[in-house]
């Protein structure tokens, strides 16, 4: 037999779980009601069994039919017809649909316009960090189209040591409307260098680092950006002389 306090505690947890479940269930019910409904105005649109053009077409929706738009995966929308048939329709096919009050819907494709007005960018870069292979994952937030802040993590894996570095940067993009848009950045961070275990053991180093960089974004297609950059790091070591490190890297990014 459990002590009363513990039983109370369990009851409270069970009650909380029930509340959460109920909230979830009502959320789902609400979602059911608020699905967007559009009217097909093309002669017909094709419904695929999955969210890619490789999946077979199993149903055709005719002009004038009302459809509910349920979810989206990449450029594909799952729709439900009045007869409860479900399938996936490409965005291009939904572009000619109308709202219930007869106006044009706004199913826009991701294009260079989206690239010019992007808010977020997440990317992966790889390159050469003074002889060591480096992997960088970064996230950028655009305050304005010409000014951005960035947080990045870099792992440089060399033959004799490996470094982990975190950086915060502020970047200027003077020509945000160009497809090939250069940028300049200034940043500061921290670098932790660990010598290889197979070498004679030396102490790990933990140093502040500042950097200047120059690079360019190149819009490829859809949500893809190619990025190339050069970084010059100044590592403020605890020894007498500061260290200077050059890094070249390139990679891909997606934007939102």
């Amino acid at each position: 037999m459990l002590p009363k306090r513990q039983t109370n505690e369990i009851m409270r947890i069970v009650f909380f779980c029930l509340l959460v479940l109920q909230a979830l269930a009502s959320g789902q019910a609400r979602a059911e009601e608020t699905y967007l409904e559009v009217i097909v105005s093309d002669p017909y649109i094709e419904m695929h069994t999955g969210p890619a053009s490789g999946y077979p077409v199993t149903h055709v929706i005719e002009r004038g039919e009302k459809i509910k738009v349920l979810i989206r995966k990449t450029d594909w929308y799952k729709v439900r017809t009045r007869k409860n048939k479900e399938g996936w329709v490409h965005r291009n096919e939904l572009r000619q649909t109308l709202t219930l009050d007869g106006r044009k819907t706004k199913f826009r494709d991701v294009s260079i316009e989206g690239y010019r007005n992007r808010d977020w960018e997440i990317g992966l870069l790889s390159g050469d960090f003074e002889g060591a292979a480096s992997v960088t994952l970064y996230g950028t937030y655009y305050l304005t189209p010409t000014l951005s802040t960035e947080l990045s993590g870099t792992h440089a894996i060399g033959n004799f040591s490996s470094s982990v570095m975190a950086n915060v940067r502020i970047a200027a993009h003077p020509f945000p409307e160009w497809r090939v848009s250069p940028f300049f950045a200034l940043g500061a961070g921290y670098i932790k260098t660990e010598p290889d275990a197979t070498l004679v053991r030396t102490v790990d180093r933990d140093d502040p680092v500042a950097n200047v960089s120059i690079g360019t974004h190149i819009y490829l297609t859809k949500r893809f950006i190619f990025r190339l950059e050069y970084n010059n790091y100044k590592i403020f070591t605890s020894r007498n002389d500061n260290e200077e490190v050059e890094e070249w890297k390139a990679g891909f990014a997606v934007f939102f």
Binding site: A31, L36, V38, T49, G50, P51, A52, S53, G54, Y55, P56, V69, L70, I71, R72, K73, T74, D75, W76, Y77, K78, T99, L100, D101, T105, K106, F107, R108, L124, S126, A132, A133, V135, L137, H155, I157, S162, E194, D196, A197, T198, K222, R223, F224, F252, V254
Partner: protein, 221 residues
Amino acid sequence: MESRLCRLFLTGAHTTFLALLMLSMTDIHAAEPLEKKTEQIILPELERREIKQAAIDAEDFEFGIFAGALSIEDFGVNASVGARLTYHVTEDFFTELSVGVSKASETSYEALLGNVQLLSDDERDYIYYNLALGYNLFSGEAFFGKSAFNSDLYLIAGIGNTNFANDDHFTWSIGAGYRFIPKDWYAIHIDFRDHIFNSDILGADKQTHNLEINAGISFFF
């Protein structure tokens, strides 16, 4: 007399001005209802709904866990587990971040000699991360009995790091996988990967190929 006339005139002018002002004001007031008449009396009760893409729930992300076997070159085949986060950029391309762990067993040299230990227990931990770009080569229906299910066969390549024997190794990963999608919200994966890195654990620097096969489940959100 003159001043009286003047006052009379002024009062008259004053009154006229006031009268005119009042008239003009009433004129304005009178004009308003006329305008109102031209407005629509019956407003159509239409629900104006803006259709924006953001209002539709997007399920471009996928999170999954997996378990399988990893052949660590020279150190036998070992159990491995991990997790991955996928972002589907287009219907064809996706990016994936994966993390996996395993533990190396003994080399055949250690097994034969019995009392020799090349690596300490701690150094046998094998941890990797990988950032990759994938391409859905064949998207289509797979038939299981009489039911049809969605599935993708994909190729994947990426870079990352492997921490093994307490050392970091820059690692290339290439592979292929099969995504079986019974419902829109979850998928079952089978994956083959080759993790390639240079290692000097056994003395000379050499390229090692570490093959992994695993199965997992993932959820779209």
